[in-house]
C-alpha cells in the first residue's frame, strides 16, 4: 500500500526520531511511504488560539498538498482530529497512525520488541475527539518483552493544550504536576503517547526534574526490534 506521511511541523522540527520510526514501521509492514515535501503545518495552533482565518488557510493548504494521496497517515492524534473537525479529513483518507495500523492494515502485532516498563498517556484528543478507543493499548500489548503498567487518572489532560500552556502557564503546570506524579507512581521507565505534543509537555517536566523517566512516541516503541 502506498502511504503519504503527514509528519506535522512539530515532529518534523522537534521529534524527527518519531518520523523515522513511522517510516521504519510502515515499511516493515510492507507499505511504500511517500513524504510530500510541500507539507508544513495544519493550522491547529492558529485556530485554537483564535486566529481562524490563518489556521483554516493552512488546513486548506494541507488538503491541496495531499490531494492526490491514496492514504495519509499521521503520528499526531491532535492534528488529525483538528483537520477532520475542520473539513480537511480528505474524505476519510486521513488516518492517525494507530487507526491506520489497526483498521487500515488490520495488524495489532507489528513485530516489535521493547523490553521495558511502559505506561500510556492516552491523550485527550485521541480519546475524546478521535474516539481512538483502545487501539494504542492493543498495539502495545502485542509488543514482545513490554511491561505495560497502568497510569492513574490516565484520561485526564496533562495541561498542554497548545498555547494554553503559555497563556495559562500556572494552571497548566498545576495539571502537569498531577500527571507527573501519576507517571512517577506508575513505576514506568517510559511514558508513551500517540501524540508528541503531550509528550513535549510531560517529557520537558520529567527532564527538568531529572526524574529518570523518559518519554517516547508510540511509533518509536512499535518500530523497535
Amino acid at each position: 500500500m502506498r502511504v503519504a506521511l503527514f509528519i506535522t511541523c512539530f515532529n518534523d522540527t522537534l521529534f524527527p526520531q518519531t518520523g523515522r520510526a513511522v517510516v521504519t514501521l510502515l515499511e516493515r509492514l510492507g507499505c511504500e511511504v511517500d513524504f510530500p515535501q510541500a507539507q508544513t503545518c495544519c493550522g491547529q495552533m492558529h485556530v485554537n488560539t483564535g486566529y481562524q482565518e490563518r489556521g483554516l488557510a493552512l488546513a486548506r493548504r494541507f488538503e491541496r498538498v495531499f490531494a492526490d494521496a491514496e492514504v495519509v497517515v499521521s503520528p499526531s492524534a491532535s492534528c488529525v482530529a483538528y483537520l477532520r473537525a475542520n473539513g480537511a479529513g480528505l474524505d476519510g483518507r486521513l488516518a492517525e497512525l494507530t487507526e491506520f495500523l489497526v483498521d487500515g492494515l488490520r495488524v495489532e502485532d507489528v513485530g516489535a520488541t521493547f523490553p521495558h516498563r511502559v505506561t500510556l498517556h492516552p491523550t485527550c484528543h485521541s480519546v475524546r475527539m478521535m474516539r481512538i478507543g483502545d487501539r494504542p493499548q492493543r498495539l502495545l500489548e502485542r509488543v514482545r518483552g513490554i511491561d505495560l503498567v497502568e497510569l492513574e487518572d490516565a484520561a485526564v489532560c496533562c495541561g498542554f493544550g497548545g498555547t494554553f500552556s503559555v497563556k495559562n502557564a500556572d494552571t497548566s503546570m498545576a495539571m502537569l504536576s498531577d500527571k507527573l506524579s501519576h507517571v512517577l507512581n506508575s513505576g514506568a521507565e517510559v511514558c508513551t503517547a500517540a501524540d508528541n505534543s503531550c509528550l513535549l509537555h510531560i517529557g520537558g517536566a520529567l527532564r527538568h526534574q531529572r526524574s529518570g523517566v523518559r518519554v517516547m512516541h508510540l511509533a518509536e516503541i512499535l518500530a523497535s526490534t
Partner: protein
C-alpha cells in the same frame, strides 16, 4: 472581571493549597458518583439527544414560549414581570418586598439572583436576604462568594465550616466534627426564619409554558420550606429556563440529578402552578430575566450555552476547574460553562480571557447532559476575541501572523527550521514565554525529519529509524 483576568486570578487561587485539596477531593467524589449513576441508564445517549433537542426547540421559539408561559402563569393566578437587566429585576423584586413591608426575605439557592446581585440590592433598601441553602448560608456567614454551581461552598472543608459556625450561628458551642451536627446547627438557625418571614425569593430550574408550572429541584428541603411557608413568593427565572411542554420535564428530571449530584433522583422536586386558596403562598410573582440572554441567543453557535441546566457536571470533570476552583472565573458561573456563558452575558470585552481558560481536553462536552459542545464554543469565542477586540499590533497577533506566513510557504518554513536550530526564529520565539518555569525547553535536534528523508539512500537501511 479584574483587568488581568483568568490567568492572574488562577495564579492566586492555585496558591491556596487547602482550597485545592478541598475542591480536588470533592470533585473526584462527585465525578465518580455521576459516572456510576449514568452508567446505569441504558438510553443515556438518547436522553442527552432528547434534552439537546428540546432546548434547541425552546430557544428557537423563545418569544412564543415566554408569552405562553406568561399567559399560563396569569391564568393560574400568578403575576408576571419582565426584567431587561439586573437593575430592572432588582427594582421589581425589592419593590414587591417593600410593598409587603418586609425587612427580611428568605431565599432558595438561586444562581440568577446571584448573577444580578440581588442580595446587595435588597440590603441597599434595608431588606436583609437570608440564604437558606446550607452552602449559601456558609458563604454568607463567611462573607464569601460561591465557587460552584451546585455546591457553592465546595472550597470549604468540614473543619473550616465547624469553626465558622462556632464563630457565628452557634457561638460558644462545641459542635463536634460530625457533618450531622453541623447540619443540625444550621437547621436550628434556619427553622425560625422559615416560620416568621413573610416573603420568599427563589430561582427556577424549569418553567413549563403550557401549564405555567415552575419547578425547583433541590436536596435539602430548605427550598421546599421557602416555597410553601411564606405568604408571598417571588421567583426570578432566566428566560432560557422555559420548556414548551409539561412532558419535557420527564427528560430533564432524569438528566439533571444523575449529572449533578450523581443521584438517581434528587430528594426534593417542588412544582407549583400559580396560587391556590389556603395552600402555600397566596401571592406569586414570576420575574422573567433577560440580562444579556437575548444577546447570547443572537450568536448562532454561542447560543447553545443557553441550553445549560446548571448540573455542574462540566465543572466536576474539568481538569482546570478542579485545580483552580471557582473564584478564578470571577463569575457566579464558573468552570467550562462559565467560560462560555460569562463572556457572552457580560460582553466578550469584559471577560476576554475566559474563553482561553481551557486546554480543550473535551471532558466537559463528554459529560454535558444536553450536549453543549463547549470546546467548539470556546474556539468560536476565541475567534471573536481576536477579530473583535484584539489589536492587530499586539505581540501575539504579530507573532501569529509571522508564524502563519512561515507555514504558508515550504521555503520559509524550512528556513525557520534552520533558525530554530540556532536557538531563535519564529518557531522557538512563539513557544518561549511562560513555558520554561517547569518544563525544560526542548532541544532542537541537529537534523529535521525532512533533512533525514532527503538524505536517505534509495532503499532503507536495516535498523534505520530505531529509537535513540
Amino acid at each position: 472581571m479584574s483587568k488581568t483576568g483568568f490567568p492572574a486570578a488562577a495564579r492566586v487561587a492555585l496558591a491556596d493549597t487547602q482550597m485545592r485539596r478541598n475542591v480536588g477531593k470533592a470533585t473526584d467524589t462527585i465525578r465518580a458518583r455521576r459516572a456510576a449513576r449514568v452508567a446505569e441508564v441504558p438510553d443515556w445517549e438518547a436522553l442527552r439527544d432528547a434534552g439537546a433537542a428540546i432546548k434547541a426547540r425552546a430557544m428557537a421559539t423563545l418569544p412564543e414560549q415566554l408569552e405562553r408561559l406568561e399567559a399560563s402563569v396569569r391564568r393560574a393566578g400568578g403575576q408576571v414581570h419582565w426584567a431587561r437587566d439586573a437593575a430592572e429585576c432588582n427594582a421589581i423584586v425589592s419593590g414587591i418586598a417593600r410593598g409587603h413591608g418586609a425587612r427580611e426575605v428568605i431565599k432558595v439557592k438561586s444562581l440568577a439572583t446571584d448573577e444580578i446581585g440581588l442580595n446587595d440590592a435588597l440590603a441597599a433598601q434595608g431588606i436583609e436576604a437570608i440564604e437558606t441553602d446550607l452552602a449559601e448560608l456558609i458563604n454568607q456567614l463567611a462573607h464569601d462568594t460561591s465557587t460552584h454551581i451546585l455546591v457553592p461552598a465546595i472550597h470549604r472543608n468540614r473543619a473550616e465550616i465547624k469553626l465558622l459556625f462556632e464563630r457565628t450561628i452557634a457561638r460558644g458551642q462545641d459542635l463536634g466534627w460530625e457533618p450531622q451536627a453541623l447540619a443540625e446547627a444550621a437547621r436550628r438557625h434556619l427553622r425560625e426564619q422559615f416560620l416568621s418571614v413573610p416573603v420568599a425569593i427563589s430561582g427556577a430550574n424549569f418553567g413549563v409554558a403550557d401549564t405555567g408550572t415552575i419547578c425547583v429541584v433541590e436536596s435539602e428541603g430548605n427550598g421546599r420550606m421557602c416555597l410553601t411557608l411564606p405568604r408571598v413568593l417571588i421567583t426570578v427565572m432566566g428566560i432560557e429556563k422555559v420548556l414548551p411542554q409539561w412532558r419535557d420535564l420527564e427528560v430533564f428530571l432524569q438528566l439533571l440529578p444523575r449529572s449533578s449530584t450523581g443521584e438517581r433522583m434528587n430528594p426534593y422536586t417542588s412544582l407549583w402552578t400559580g396560587v391556590r386558596a389556603d395552600d402555600g403562598p397566596q401571592e406569586f410573582h414570576l420575574v422573567l430575566l433577560d440580562n444579556g440572554r437575548t444577546d447570547v441567543l443572537a450568536d448562532e453557535l454561542g447560543r447553545q450555552a443557553l441550553h445549560c441546566i446548571r448540573c455542574s457536571a462540566c465543572l466536576n470533570s474539568c481538569p482546570v476547574y478542579s485545580r483552580v476552583g471557582g473564584h478564578a472565573y470571577e463569575s457566579v458561573y464558573p468552570g467550562p460553562i462559565g467560560a462560555i456563558l460569562t463572556p457572552q452575558l457580560r460582553g466578550l470585552e469584559n471577560a476576554p480571557t475566559l474563553p482561553y481558560a481551557s486546554s480543550l481536553c473535551g471532558a466537559c462536552y463528554e459529560v454535558c447532559p444536553v450536549k453543549i459542545d463547549i470546546p467548539s464554543v470556546l474556539l468560536h469565542l476565541r475567534g471573536r476575541v481576536v477579530r473583535e477586540y484584539k489589536s492587530r499590533r499586539s505581540p501575539e497577533a504579530l507573532a501569529m501572523e509571522a508564524v502563519g506566513r512561515v507555514f504558508a510557504s515550504q521555503r520559509r518554513y524550512e528556513q525557520a527550521q534552520k533558525l530554530a536550530r540556532l536557538g531563535h526564529g519564529p518557531i522557538v520565539t512563539a513557544a518561549l514565554p511562560g513555558w520554561s518555569a517547569m518544563r525544560g525547553l526542548p532541544e532542537v535536534p541537529e537534523q529535521t525529519f525532512r533533512e533525514w528523508w532527503r538524505s536517505r539512500p534509495p532503499r532503507p537501511v536495516d535498523g534505520d529509524g530505531s529509537p535513540p
